[in-house]
Symmetry: C2
Subunit: 331 residues, 2 copies
């Protein structure tokens, strides 16, 4: 568990996209971040108060979260200097970078000297069990996609927020680095050892109250040759009651696979149900979530209406329309 | 790559089953093992010459292979003594045990002092790529099962042997610990990090001659909640042209999952083809391999005939009938 509140480190982000982890935290846990730290040349801005490390510590920040991707796959000396100083000011560090904080000798030395924690959320810190397939109490909803990066995390977070606003019992269950930094806990599924993937998701979504919903962050796609195994482990470990189909209509081919067209929503529905019903015979598709960021407003409305007619399921863009109709569709 | 020939270490195996790794090597690479080493109380026997370490070294053995499961999950002091002595006699060590050789201080110290290698085939020693889904030259055949442990490795090895006996170009591609020890190389897929599973299989089965066949060892089952993600990564990374369906007819439920019945062969066929055709539209089912060890001879014959009629595909038990009809069915 990562202690909050956070100071968001934006480093020398060349643009807003490089700081998308910070943006995720800002969007979904606005209460969690009390300030931002920007270095010279930073072109990202979360609209939070700019703070020095001393100011952040004085304001109660407990953890500096690296909210920006690093360029060239290395943690630069300029970053190291800030990160070390943050620990000297009493802050833990958390990061989802491929380069681990713990692999930087200067950071581990400072962490030892100051007693601060280094959270590398990209690597698991739990010994997960092998999945046992037993049915668990409580309800689970999983977002599945025609492709990677089509809005599965956004959809689950939007449903979680809507459900909690209604006073329902709900927990967003993070399975990726950004989700873990947003919520402070979760399973970094893409870094789990193959034999323990499904078990890690059983561990993440344990027995709960009968009226409690886990909103499980999806990963990959059953149709994506690079990551389909991760997706299937998520379905079989998560035992979802409800599925939400996610799609991005302007995508020309599967992400990173130029020779692979996207599957249809019908194919996604059928295959996802086949897989989910192996572990939960009552699994159903609750609705459809479309990322219409690439469409004009009128186009988006038309597209959503046409999908809703075609598929006979509530169809929304949670960013434009909210997730209320998806939540209404849960049984 | 593990250097041969081997000395098979049977330790203090309480019964033949405990030495099934040694049995696999004995069955499939009879030329690879020149002797066996048995300790007091050993109840397994591969029918190989019993040798001291000095005799094995003199006879040209290059690697002592741990061919027996350890009791209680620890490597006993008595074993350690033999393993150290083997290195002092000039042999490398290879093991598929969960307890790694490299985690035993006495073994690593001796390995350093003698310059010998410790091969822990349970853990990957390669940085695998992320799968790119690109079509590769050459042909690939993958065994898929209604369950775990239904004869997938045996089937692939039997086909490989048959094909090489016919002078065809064929390579068995190991994806599990026993298969790796049998062939001396492979990918320990169940220990690979989630994101790299499919990529490890692409790496294992690279471009080859157009008339060359990779016989890929299957793992798990698409229907098995604990391991299905591993199986799907194998299908999507392996891009099989031909599938062989594997089944064990006396199995009451999925291995380790008492609440889960076995799927039908029709369901296995349909789902496996759906998955395989995402990456290789020409994928087909070549035949069916049934492990009839639990049936009497007449029962087995009747069962094979009834499955062949029902499914319209060549159906054999490779142990009883050989794999010739499966090889004949490859296009």
């Amino acid at each position: 568990m990562i202690d909050g509140p956070y100071l968001l480190f934006l480093g020398d982000a060349p643009d807003a996209l490089a700081a998308k982890v910070a943006q995720g935290i800002r969007d979904w846990r606005p209460d969690a971040a009390i300030g931002q730290f920007r270095m010279a040349g930073c072109r990202a801005d979360m609209g939070l108060p700019d703070m020095t490390l001393a100011e952040a510590a004085a304001a109660g920040a407990r953890t500096l979260v690296v909210g920006v991707a690093n360029r060239g796959g290395t943690i630069s000396p300029a970053w190291i200097e800030v990160l070390r100083s943050a620990m000297e000011h009493g802050l833990d560090l958390a990061s989802g970078l491929h380069n681990l904080l713990r692999d930087e000798l200067e950071l581990t030395a400072t962490a030892m000297a100051t007693g601060r924690k280094l959270h590398d959320v990209r690597v698991p810190d739990v010994r997960y069990p092998i999945a046992n397939g037993k049915r668990r109490a409580g309800k689970r909803c999983l977002a599945v996609g025609t492709d990677c990066s089509v809005g599965k995390m956004y959809t689950a977070l939007a449903m979680d927020r809507e459900m909690r606003a209604r006073g329902m019992k709900a927990t967003f269950r993070a399975t990726g680095q950004t989700g873990i930094l947003v919520t402070g806990a979760g399973v970094p599924l893409d870094a789990v050892i193959a034999d323990f993937m499904a078990g890690s998701i059983e561990w993440l979504t344990p027995d709960n109250d009968p009226d409690h919903w886990d909103l499980i962050e999806g990963q990959g796609s059953l149709f994506h040759a690079s990551y389909s195994g991760v997706t299937l482990a998520l379905i079989h470990g998560g035992q979802p009651d409800a599925l939400v189909l996610c799609h991005e209509p302007t995508r020309k081919h599967l992400r990173g696979l130029p020779d692979y067209p996207l599957p249809s929503l019908e194919a996604l529905r059928d295959l996802s149900l086949t897989m989910a019903r192996m572990v939960n015979p009552a699994a159903y598709v609750a609705g459809i979530s479309i990322n219409t960021a690439g469409l004009a407003e009128r186009e988006a409305e038309d597209y959503l209406a046409s999908v809703e007619t075609l598929m006979g399921l509530p169809t929304v863009d949670p960013f434009r329309n909210g997730a209320a109709r998806l939540v209404d569709a849960l049984k």
